[in-house]
């Protein structure tokens, strides 16, 4: 820092010219992306907002009238939105919790030195490489009546549930959707947590060992607090992703039996019922829900992390 300042004062005019040139270059390099993002991200959201305040004729294409917030009022006073909202939040809370717990366990396992670790790391990446749609199809084959492995195993062991049509029952259908999501995304959480584990200095553990702390105690008092940034990050990524879930339940159940999510409801109104105004209002509501969750995370986690940084 001092060296730079020294140099700055010595060659001020030249430095200044380069500074200006650099800032101009920076803007020139950033602005194409910013313009493109304004076109493909900001503009569509604004347009959706406009569409959501209109009512479109089903009879005559292009005919519409401005109705203000009427679509929102109708949606929020109805039942469908709240059902989809609750189902999405239920899905999110359960699947993200499971993914964080299992992902941490998987990361702890992968962080240990043992023969075959490389192989294990390769294997857990397989679900990540599978398309989401394919993972839905995979779990459908697992739970299909008579064909499915789960049914076969339950029947073979004489356990109850062998005659259950998993995707045909509320509750069970949601459980399969959650299971498919956990299978697909736990490796991602594990990788983030593993990266967090690898930056913990080993002398912390040596100190704990000298103090005679047990493994369990070491994990809860040392590892977990140090993992917090990685865990918070994984939780944010996974929560915001889970709230917009569409493809898994779409392929598994088409939204039947208590699995319709916010995105699916908006899609149904828009594509299947051709209700552009209502569909747009629902997608704006989905957008707002995700943004509210994001702000909550930033508020809580961001504050926490900043406090910790200050302590250090």
């Amino acid at each position: 820092m001092t060296e730079v300042q020294e140099r700055k004062s010595r060659r001020r005019p030249k430095e200044l010219a380069r500074d200006v040139a650099e800032r101009r270059l920076a803007w020139m390099m950033v602005s194409p992306s910013l313009v493109l993002m304004a076109l493909v991200a900001a503009f569509p959201i604004g347009y959706a907002l406009w569409l959501s305040m209109n009512q479109y004729s089903l009879m005559q294409a292009g005919l519409s009238r401005f109705v203000g917030l009427q679509n929102y009022v109708e949606i929020l006073s109805g039942e469908a939105w709240w059902t989809a909202f609750l189902q999405t939040v239920t899905f999110t809370v359960i699947s993200v919790s499971l993914e964080l717990i299992l992902g941490t366990a998987m990361a702890l396992l992968l962080n240990q030195a043992f023969r075959g670790r490389g192989l294990l790391r390769t294997v857990v990446l397989v679900p990540y490489a599978v398309l989401t749609v394919v993972s839905a199809i995979t779990w459908r084959t697992m739970f299909e009546p008579s064909l499915g492995l789960v049914t076969t195993v339950l029947n073979g062991l004489g356990l109850p549930g062998g005659d259950l049509v998993w995707l045909g029952e509320p509750g069970y259908a949601m459980a399969v959707v959650i299971l498919a999501d956990v299978w697909k995304t736990t490796p991602f959480v594990a990788l983030l947590v593993l990266a967090g584990l690898q930056v913990i200095p080993s002398d912390v553990y040596e100190a704990a060992q000298i103090d005679g702390a047990s493994k369990v105690k070491t994990f809860f008092n040392i590892t977990l607090p140090l993992l917090k940034p990685a865990l918070v990050l994984a939780a944010i990524f996974r929560t915001l992703d889970a709230l917009r879930i569409f493809d898994l339940p779409f392929v598994l159940t088409r939204g039947a039996n208590g699995t319709e999510t916010m995105s699916m409801l908006a899609y149904r109104e828009l594509r299947e019922n051709r209700l552009i105004g209502e569909g747009s209002a629902l997608s704006i509501l989905t957008f707002l829900t995700v943004m509210v969750f994001a702000l909550m995370y930033i508020r809580f986690a961001g504050g926490n992390l900043r406090d910790e940084a200050k302590e250090k």
Partner: protein, 289 residues
Amino acid sequence: MTAAAPAPDLRGKMLRRRTVSGARWVLVVVVILFSLVPFYWLINTSLKTGAGLSSGELFPSEPTLSNYVTVLQNSNFMLSLRNSVIVALSATTIAIVFASFAAYALARLRLRRKTLLLALILSVTTFPTIAIAAPMFSLWSDLGLYDTLPGLIIPKLTFALPMAIYILTSFFKEIPRELEESAYVDGASPFQAFYKIILPLATPGIATTAILVFILVWNEFLLPVTLTTSPEARTVPVAITFFSGTSQYDQPLGAISAASVIITIPLVIVVLVFQKKIISGLTAGSLKG
């Protein structure tokens, strides 16, 4: 550990160590089974036809490749493969070109409100896809871009571009600064430093980013399901789910499974070959804040 005979008090320790590693092996096996068994079952299903499809045999008694033949002879499936390749390659290329410039400026150059810009860009990746798909559905219907490949590539950029910028920024940050400093000393302009020094060095990072963006675009389902309707514009993930049987109740699960296996295997190979890079890309920037 020394090779000397263990002292009596060490024996208990070693025993405990053995049970620890025993428990670990159980865990390893559970994780491997959980990761691979569903995929095995998909392959198993894809090898069955007719009566086999309504039995839960652990190994198909009459394995057949006829489902694979059906899929590969299905012109709509082949068309969707072509569409997916075109869409994913185009969106990835455009995103990487735009993102390389932006990411360099964000990682290295003096720029006001850098953190705010990065936060804004990152926030776009969390947009629910439906909030883009819904207005695009209406807009493309008016503009005649509905059910076309360009009409699909453009909204794919909504998510591909910010993801590319975010990952590339963290890769650019890792390149040592001294390289540019010495280029400046040699009289290079900041752009020359970027173009001649940093860009060639960043090629592995750019390749990793390209793979991750490609997977994102290839994987994404809601945009094509909303914005296309004919096989001429459908991408693979949509085409698979629309593989329909003769009636609503006769889903050709064998063919669907075979199609799933066909499109998954190349992706699994890519991920396994580039696993180190992919892991570094996925976790890039995550720990630096």
